[in-house]
Symmetry: C2
Subunit: 223 residues, 2 copies
């Protein structure tokens, strides 16, 4: 029934789960065997009820007075998020962003290991980025098959995103982490998760422009 | 009245605006003076009505038969998003992610230039990442003031995020781009925009785990 529990967990709970790990690991390091939902809630700035709901939704409940078992929580979250079983991933697009992500070691703690990059620029073939080879895109399907890769990270220009996603899906990739500015369409059984840095920066800078103009306007009017 | 127009523009419109730029620039390069909302909608996979609404909300309307003026659209979006006026930014946290972002040249096209990094690890002081100096955090307030920096990019561990945000706000930073896994609390007049890579990866990998388990279950039951 585990997969049924898993499928019913809300998007926002899943997004919050990584937040619990640093404080649980700190508690473990300090030799604490259990932790209260009130303490977790306070440290994370969340509501206690929400904390209990998050942990219950992955099948872990606390006990009155005792609280939640720390080690069980860590293992439960790791298992739920697949962090106990590191997945290899390919990056498609060895431009600035692809190179930056390939050089970022932080993903390994979260169960993701980038093992190679692909590009269609021959001047990049055979080079290494953070120890990972850059290969030509035409070899992608063969290597996905041979290395049992399930995750592709897309860092190509937006205009190429759909074509590259099609290649990845055709090759047998099951999950796409889309860092391009484009929306992509994939078959229903393929997982897509998007991080749109340009959109996030657009929000930040437009709000900065807007407040600067408002301040200027007030100054001009001597308000 | 410009700031009033700006403030009424929806979050989702702002996030979509960067999408228009590559196709507008391609049209400009091809010598086209105007472009129809239908063509933009088709290229981007958006609804035509939504495209007209997006562009109207930044004060640009098309003309029947003629469509939208390409150059005016480009300038309008650049002005709206502050891309016509590159902002310098500091990164706080010269770990893996901070280094990756500092090395990513793609932000400059979007009006953001990283000019330095700060950390509290003395072994990093005086080093350069992608040509940008790593400095000690205690010098941050002085340099924010001297260089008129308005944007700080936070890439510290989640547990340090609030303390570092407090330092940044106190130093006069007006916008925080928060890449840490933590939520931060700031005064009302400070802009915060968050990119939570760990949360995004959690969604991706939990869904991958979930579908893998469902497949295993079906196989066991010979379904």
């Amino acid at each position: 029934m585990e997969e049924i529990i898993q499928e019913s967990v809300s998007y926002s709970t899943i997004r919050r789960l990584p937040l619990y790990m640093p404080l649980l690991k700190a508690a473990l390091d300090a030799g604490e065997q259990s932790i209260s939902s009130a303490k977790m809630a306070e440290t994370l700035g969340l509501d206690t009820v929400l904390v209990r709901k998050d942990l219950a939704s992955i099948g872990i409940t606390g006990q009155a007075r005792l609280g939640f078992p720390v080690r069980e929580l860590i293992e439960g979250i790791e298992r739920f998020l697949g962090w106990d079983n590191i997945s290899d991933a390919f990056v498609i697009g060895a431009g600035n962003l692809g190179r930056a992500l390939a050089g970022y070691a932080g993903f390994e703690a979260h169960g993701l290991k980038i093992v190679g990059l692909f590009d269609n620029d021959p001047t990049k073939f055979g080079k290494f980025i953070a120890g990972k080879p850059v290969m030509e895109l035409s070899k992608f399907p063969h290597l996905v098959h041979r290395m049992h890769i399930q995750i592709a990270i897309l860092t190509v220009p937006g205009i190429d995103a759909q074509a590259v996603a099609d290649v990845a899906v055709e090759a047998g990739i099951r999950a796409l982490w889309n860092f391009t500015p484009a929306k992509i369409t994939v078959p229903e059984n393929i997982i897509v998760e998007r991080v749109d840095l340009a959109a996030s920066l657009a929000v930040l800078s437009s709000r900065l422009v807007s407040t600067a103009r408002a301040a200027e306007y007030r100054q001009q009017k001597n308000l």
